[in-house]
């Protein structure tokens, strides 16, 4: 591979990370919509689409390994490739959470919703905002944005606790609601974990740009 192709491949890697992030974000959005609309067909499509995200993850990992082996990248190039390797793992896990939400949506599809969904869509919206800002920070090499974005994780954690408290009242007042309440709690848990993965992405963006590896939002 010539130097020119190497630099081009570095750029393509970054573009594909954003493509993978878009796919993972759309999967989470679709999964929450499938839950809201009790749409089994849509949930099935999201579960099936997960294979495509897994395939892109493998492809990106292979390309990173090939660059490491054949180009011996150093300094900022090395950090960029190491960050891509780490970020794609987080994106792949996010897509797994979308799959988890879709499975919960299927289990709840033939039952009436326990309550109107308010906090869960709000959590999902915050996850999407975080993901967009994480990718902006990644492409613009902006460590400040990467760090600022992770503050939303606290808000998501707060919403998850709120969902838990609310569902607890349903379960205590009518134990028959417990299976449905637990499914919704699981969904909130998936969204909260997705936000944690985006926080990890923020850490990797900061490392990629500055060389400083530190935990955010601990």
């Amino acid at each position: 591979m010539t130097r020119e192709l190497y630099l081009k491949e570095l750029d393509t890697l970054k573009t594909d990370v954003v493509r993978m992030a878009t796919m993972a974000g759309e999967a989470i959005h679709g999964a929450v919509e499938a839950l809201r609309d009790r749409d089994i067909a849509r949930a099935d499509r999201i579960i099936a689409e997960d294979d495509k995200i897994d395939a892109l993850h493998m492809d990106l990992e292979n390309r990173c390994m090939r660059l490491l082996a054949t180009q011996q990248p150093m300094a900022s190039d090395l950090r960029a490739i190491a960050s891509v390797l780490a970020i794609t793992i987080d994106l792949e896990r996010m897509a797994d959470h979308a799959e988890g939400i879709s499975k919960a949506a299927k289990r709840l599809a033939d039952q009436p919703l326990l309550k109107p969904l308010i906090d869960i869509p709000r959590m999902e919206e915050l996850v999407q905002q975080m993901l967009r800002e994480a990718m902006d920070a990644f492409l613009r090499r902006d460590p400040d944005l990467a760090e600022a974005m992770t503050k939303k994780d606290d808000e998501i954690d707060g919403l998850r606790s709120q969902v838990f408290r609310e569902l607890l009242t349903y379960m205590l007042s009518d134990p028959k609601t417990t299976p449905r309440a637990l499914e919704l709690l699981l969904v909130a848990q998936h969204l909260e974990r997705a936000a944690d993965h985006i926080t990890n992405i923020g850490e990797r963006v900061i490392y990629m740009v500055t060389g400083e590896l530190r935990e955010l939002n601990v």
């Binding site: 130097r3 190497y6 011996q72 150093m74 300094a75 190039d77 950090r79 500055t210 060389g211």
Partner: protein, 271 residues
């Protein structure tokens, strides 16, 4: 690999690989070739018993710097140098200092293995000691064996010590040259692209050897191969156009250099 450690006060037999404490320090070293100012005031403190790598594009002055450290630069016609090189706190350029003694204390290994062509393996290693007046056969035997062991070559050549040095493979010849340099018990070993003529397996052996030797002596290695610098050295200095741009812990230099010129060079943006 384990390098044998010997007592410094046990006579000539112990002259190979004495444990030296001192490092070497360049202060404002300038060098000229034919009026060209090729080194522009290099100051660099080389830590004792560490491997320091010097990297930089061709013509940046790294080999010249190495040759200034042991006064080999002045052997080149129309070349000159100024500044100080301190070994144990004393300037090797001070009037009255014998450059031959300096080169004994600061040994050198070159790009191409250069065993003395007419000499056997044994005589190559013993040459420096003989030049220093050592004639006792048993002493020479001990030093030759110790030096060849230190250079990780003994097992391969112990049964053919009388064969010509040039009959060895490229990698073995380079280790023979290292053994020859070690025989006179240097405090510092300068290695000027010592692996550029070697295959990957021989390169790896020289790198392992450099790491092992650094337990007892100070090593400065000039290399074009950045992976080699990253693998072998504790400290790395980046030279550009006769200047030392940046020096630091090797891990840092190769993962997050401070100067953008270092970054550009090691990521292949230029050079």
């Amino acid at each position: 690999m384990q390098v044998e450690r010997v007592e410094p006060n046990s006579g000539l037999a112990s002259r190979a690989i004495i444990d030296h404490a001192g490092g070497i320090e360049a202060r404002r070293v300038h060098a000229w070739f034919d009026g060209h100012h090729v080194l522009q005031g290099i100051s660099l403190k080389v830590a004792a018993r560490q491997v320091t790598a010097i990297i930089g594009p061709s013509g940046c002055g790294k080999s010249t710097f190495l040759r200034c450290l042991n006064r080999m630069h002045e052997l080149i016609p129309r070349a000159s140098a100024s500044g100080q090189v301190l070994l144990d706190g004393r300037d090797v350029y001070m009037p009255g200092i014998d450059p031959v003694l300096v080169r004994r204390r600061i040994g050198m290994v070159f790009q191409k293995p250069n065993p003395f062509p007419t000499m056997s393996v044994y005589d190559n290693v013993a040459a420096g000691l003989r030049l220093a007046g050592e004639r006792d056969r048993r002493t020479l035997d001990k030093v030759v064996e110790r030096s060849l062991r230190a250079a990780a070559l003994w097992e391969e050549v112990k049964d053919r010590l009388s064969k010509p040095g040039t009959s060895l493979s490229g990698g073995q010849q380079q280790r023979l040259c290292i053994a020859r340099a070690l025989a006179v018990s240097p405090e510092v070993l300068l290695m000027d692209e010592p692996c550029s003529a070697l295959d990957p397996a021989a390169t790896l052996r020289i790198e392992e050897l450099a790491r092992a030797l650094a337990r007892q002596i100070t090593i400065v290695i000039v290399t074009h191969n950045m992976q080699q610098a990253a693998r072998v050295s504790d400290i790395t200095g980046f030279f550009l156009n006769g200047e030392l741009i940046e020096v630091g812990v090797t891990d840092e230099i190769f993962t997050r250099p401070r100067d953008h010129r270092t970054e550009d060079y090691i990521t292949g943006r230029f050079g």
